[in-house]
């Protein structure tokens, strides 16, 4: 699916939140690429910074949060240098976002058609209302909602329909990148599966790139081409979704995949429980942020932070197991091809 053309390059992105207990480093020096036309799954525990990362990609971090550094290169241009006006133009037209709760993501006093027409007209005021409505109802029908529902208010629609309206709002201006932040989490499993399936169709039909942020590992396996795993504000592993599932490299990814309930699990065999708690990000652990919970932690792990390195083409991992360092005494593991 991926033709290796980079749509967005994220370089050294850091986001901090100011809280009463101090600065929380929610996203810490994260770098990765999003390829054109791919579906990239971003997984991690609650509070690992994956939603913050999603918002940061559109520069939508609200105070008390702040992007403290990094580059966001979208189609060759660093959007960190854009002013507010340029950002408004970027949002919706180049990249768009779908949120977790379709119940609250639509303005309750605005009809569906008003939402869609507004989305068009804030970017293209010269487009007439009739033309905008025409375009909107075509899109809505393509997404499987009868166009007579256009004059409904959000509360008159089901959760699945509302989420489809959100998808339509993301697609209406042919945005290149759609960031779906837990977009299917609040839906029931059947609707969720159906919508996830439609994401694939949408990608094919509209040629969009998607970043799917979720804690639902099964959904990601089903949906995405590549997988990115976050832990405590760090990107710890990235790679082809099948490869990561078959052979997770980072101990955190291994634990995460082992924690997924499996109906074929041997009877009597208990579900893996990761020891410890996610760290408090006002005072993140030194070195590798996962080392206090890591079953394979070494002496170096608590002292020096490993880099996210490419251990195989297209396969990145941020772990001392796979890289050398003068202060490291343990042998470095080879990654099987």
């Amino acid at each position: 699916m991926t033709d290796n053309k980079v749509l967005m390059q994220v370089r050294d992105l850091s986001v901090e939140y100011k809280t009463r207990l101090g600065m929380v480093s929610a996203v810490d020096h994260v770098s990765f690429d999003i390829y054109e036309g791919e579906i990239l799954g971003l997984v991690g525990e609650s509070g690992c910074g994956k939603s913050t990362l999603g918002k940061a990609l559109m520069r939508m971090i609200q105070p008390p949060g702040r992007i403290i550094g990094g580059e966001l290169i979208f189609n060759g241009k660093d959007i960190m240098t854009y002013d507010e006006k340029q950002m408004q133009d970027f949002r919706g037209r180049k990249a768009s976002m779908i949120f977790q709760d379709p119940m609250t993501s639509l303005n309750p006093v605005q009809r569906v058609d008003e939402h869609l027409i507004e989305a068009i007209q804030v970017h293209f005021p010269e487009i007439s209302k009739e033309e905008a409505l025409q375009r909107a109802s075509e899109l809505i029908e393509r997404l499987g909602i009868q166009s007579n529902r256009m004059s409904s208010y959000p509360h008159q629609l089901s959760g699945g329909m509302r989420q489809r309206v959100m998808v339509a709002l993301g697609l209406i201006l042919n945005a290149n990148l759609i960031i779906a932040d837990e977009a299917t989490t609040s839906l029931d499993v059947i609707v969720e599966a159906k919508l996830a399936d439609e994401f694939r169709d949408i990608r094919r039909e509209f040629g969009v790139t998607m970043l799917v942020i979720t804690h639902n590992i099964a959904l990601v396996a089903e949906l995405s081409d590549r997988l990115a795993v976050m832990y405590a504000g760090h990107m710890v592993e990235m790679g082809d979704v099948y490869k990561v599932f078959d052979d997770p490299l980072h101990p955190y990814t291994q634990g995460l995949l082992n924690s997924v309930p499996n109906i074929q699990l041997d009877e009597g065999k208990e579900l893996y429980k990761m020891p410890g708690e996610p760290p408090n990000l006002t005072h993140p652990p030194s070195g590798c942020r996962f080392h206090p919970r890591c079953p394979m932690a070494m002496a170096i792990c608590s002292r020096i932070e490993p880099d996210l390195i490419e251990v195989q083409p297209g396969r990145h991992v941020k772990c001392w197991l796979y890289q050398d360092h003068p202060e490291k005494s343990e042998p470095t593991l080879e990654v099987s091809k």
Partner: protein, 340 residues
């Protein structure tokens, strides 16, 4: 009009009947428990008992209380109200007909000023939360809601009609113009427009500015705070974030999306404030010598004019009930989720 809306309206109107009834009953008995009576207030302390009795009989005050009560209820139901007990014993309908327009001409601009100032500065403060302008607006709103109306009125009078004489000090119209001005409805602004008497219109409006600004400002403080709090909550709503993600400008998110969603609590408060508005009108009319119902009520309470006071209170009560009914209907227009 849908069937359910009609049923709702009928129930609502029927519900106001016991409300008004209870209120006027309480007033009826309180007035009679209060020391002093309309006879003494008119004739003074030195008249003989016979003279007082004669007047009492003529006014029907010698009848048993229960008879007087039902007599009054009967008058009220027919919107007839009977005649006043003092000051020429004119029909109360006529007296209120002269006074009510002045009060309405005062309160409509006042509540408009309240709503505009309250809602917009509240929304502006919410948008600029925790910035200096937010603190300034909040401080002003506390000052406005804690200054007594008559004091604020006096300050305006000193500033804008004594020191810098731009606005007239008191009354509804220049006395010179009054000699030629005819007002069949007693709505001076309306009549001036209908008769195309532009100098009279200018004078009537000029006389309204200070009183209505005073009353409007005094009530706006609570709206600033209410709007601000609700807007802050609304601005954190998911649909605002989602709108931002579609590139909708911040001002549009604040003043269109969020503001419309805060109209429900604002409308509720507007309905509730109407009662306070009428109370404020009493003070404003007194400060600016406006011949409205508020001043009428004060005068007649002092004279212990039972029927006049009861009837005025009843009219006030019906007004407040009517306004809150209108607010309830408006809810459905503001919020599509509300259906009757």
């Amino acid at each position: 009009m849908s069937n359910s809306l009609r049923r709702y309206l009928i129930t609502r109107v029927l519900m106001t009947i016991p409300m008004v009834l209870i209120l006027v009953t309480v007033i009826f008995f309180i007035m009679r428990v209060l020391p002093g009576d309309p006879i003494r207030s008119q004739l003074g302390p030195r008249v003989s008992e016979e003279q007082a009795d004669a007047l009492r009989e003529r006014l029907g005050l010698n009848r048993p209380l229960i008879v007087q009560y039902f007599d009054f209820i009967g008058d009220m139901v027919t919107f007839n109200f009977g005649t006043a007990l003092t000051q020429g014993e004119r029909p109360i309908k006529d007296e209120l007909g002269e006074r009510l327009p002045a009060t309405i001409e005062l309160t409509i601009p006042a509540i408009t000023i309240t709503a505009i100032i309250g809602i917009f500065s509240g929304a502006y403060a919410a948008k600029n939360r925790k910035k200096p302008i937010d603190y300034i607006i909040r401080l002003l709103s506390i000052i406005l809601s804690s200054i007594p109306i008559f004091f604020m009125g006096l300050l305006f009078q000193i500033a804008f009609s004594v020191r810098i004489p731009i606005f007239p000090l008191s009354g509804r119209m220049d006395t010179l113009l009054m000699t030629t001005f005819e007002s069949p409805t007693n709505f001076y602004v309306l009549d001036a427009i209908l008769t195309q008497n532009w100098p009279a219109l200018g004078s009537a409006l000029g006389h309204l500015i200070m009183p209505s600004v005073t009353l409007g400002l005094a009530l706006s403080g609570v709206f600033v705070r209410l709007t601000r709090v609700n807007m802050i909550e609304m601005l954190q709503a998911d649909f605002i974030t989602a709108g931002r993600a579609r590139g909708i400008a911040e001002n549009r998110l604040v003043y269109k999306h969020a503001l419309r969603n805060t109209f429900i609590p604002i409308l509720t408060m507007l309905g509730l404030q109407f009662a306070i508005l009428l109370a404020g009108a009493v003070l404003t009319e007194t400060t600016f010598s406006l011949p409205g119902v508020g001043r009428y009520l004060v005068e007649r309470i002092q004279l212990r004019d039972y029927t006049a006071v009861q009837s005025t209170i009843a009219v006030f009560a019906m007004f407040v009930a009517g306004i809150s009914l209108i607010m309830d209907i408006l809810y459905a227009f503001v919020d599509p989720r509300i259906r009757y």
